[in-house]
Symmetry: C2
Subunit: 299 residues, 2 copies
Amino acid sequence: MTEKVYGGIETGGTKFVCAVGTTPDNLIKTQFTTTTPDESIKKAIDFFKNNTRHKQLSAIGIASFGPLDLDKNSPTYGYITTTPKDSWSDISIVEKIHSRLNVPVVIDTDVNGAALGEQVWGAARGLDIFIYLTVGTGIGGGGMVNSRLMHGLLHPEMGHIRIPHDWQRDPYRGCCPYHGDCLEGLASGKAMELRWGQSPEKLPSNHPAWELEAGYLASAISNLIYTISPQRIIIGGGLMKNPDLMSAIHRKVVKDLKGYIRSEAITESIDRYIVAPALGDLAGVVGALELAKRINQEI
Amino acid sequence: MTEKVYGGIETGGTKFVCAVGTTPDNLIKTQFTTTTPDESIKKAIDFFKNNTRHKQLSAIGIASFGPLDLDKNSPTYGYITTTPKDSWSDISIVEKIHSRLNVPVVIDTDVNGAALGEQVWGAARGLDIFIYLTVGTGIGGGGMVNSRLMHGLLHPEMGHIRIPHDWQRDPYRGCCPYHGDCLEGLASGKAMELRWGQSPEKLPSNHPAWELEAGYLASAISNLIYTISPQRIIIGGGLMKNPDLMSAIHRKVVKDLKGYIRSEAITESIDRYIVAPALGDLAGVVGALELAKRINQEI
């Protein structure tokens, strides 16, 4: 009998990750740099064609940067919409892949994809309300409430909340083309690079950049705790490769909350409350694969 | 046959509202000033005893200020916990009412109660994801996601998010005893009174207080839109009695979002997106009654 497999694509601002398989232990995967929509999507399609010979590719899930149109009744369902990313605005990514591979295609945000991956296979197993944040070139957030992915009128865009801007220590105006000094404008990798004139990986761990970064992220995380009251917060993304950043966030979140939220999960074990993704960089593509497996369910 | 009725209590920082009945059209109600826990709870119990003779009081729902312990497995379930309100910390309101009336008692936050009331009878009918904010002496927020009330690790405490403090126009440091200039610290009725030296009802509608107030609330509302992506936001509470405040909020939210959220619900009809409670001041107590009616359901 032909082996039944699923496809997952994580489309990121800097790279595409594609995988074919059924579980994290049974995956063929590849990744490549995101370029133009046509070129990047063609590479993805070639990967799926080359790796599903003699197999039945049942569906493809996409976990994508956005904003996305996720309204199935909309004429632009499955489009990437107002992204500031060059040439990716108003791209019908679902249709482009569906028309070339002729299998059902489902899409959600990159962070919702990663959240689903972590709930099934990673750091959010057994939880029904949690947040997944990514802090890299950009900042995004998604998650689950009542064990279902967060959607709504559109979908969360947590990277664009506003937090207090520490003008005294940080005269940088912020880099969000829409909002200037929203969270992404102040605390994304791009903001760090523009503020300090070098890429974040090159900033030594005792550079004041990291204290400032941890402060902004802690402010945002406190807001998310007050707004959603999650059972856990998972933070992935390139900037979190700096191990000191996570512990600075732990300290600052507890400090910012000032004991108002009386929960031992926060006051006694913050290091198990705010955690890295257990699937690491694979959370997104594994989640995309899960989206494909559940294409006929409401999640 | 004995008429079957339910009881609802909205416990607010300034007043208690109690009702007996089955629907908003079939209610006996009363209200009185909140004083000490013992005295206020006794008045509520007397009201229910006096108004349920020859009737079957099936359950009581409480929509209360908080923070509350809503974890049914906790030894302090049904307690008001870390409130800064005099003498109301660590009060077991559920147990005090249950032991005197001997009927099942259920509790949720005042704003979740009001949200439920609005979903069943008011401005959120047919919606499955929306927010209910109250802006009065304090600020609180709750709502529904996937048609279920927002809970989580504890419950939302949206009044305590942080937003940019407009130091240039507003040197006032904020009045939250925990956080200083969080949303409640900057934009509650108490903050207005302390900042301007008179109660908000006495500030004329062309006073700069209202522009500042609208700006802070719009900032918070934008954050809620980015975080939860609700289909609608309902705002009740004493400060919203000023009709100009709502229209200033409408203008400022659209301006703050800068076209990033591409939804006609926001860009074309903000006055139907951010609205007053259709039940007015009764949202909370009607919601409390609904909590009682659904005491055996997960909501």
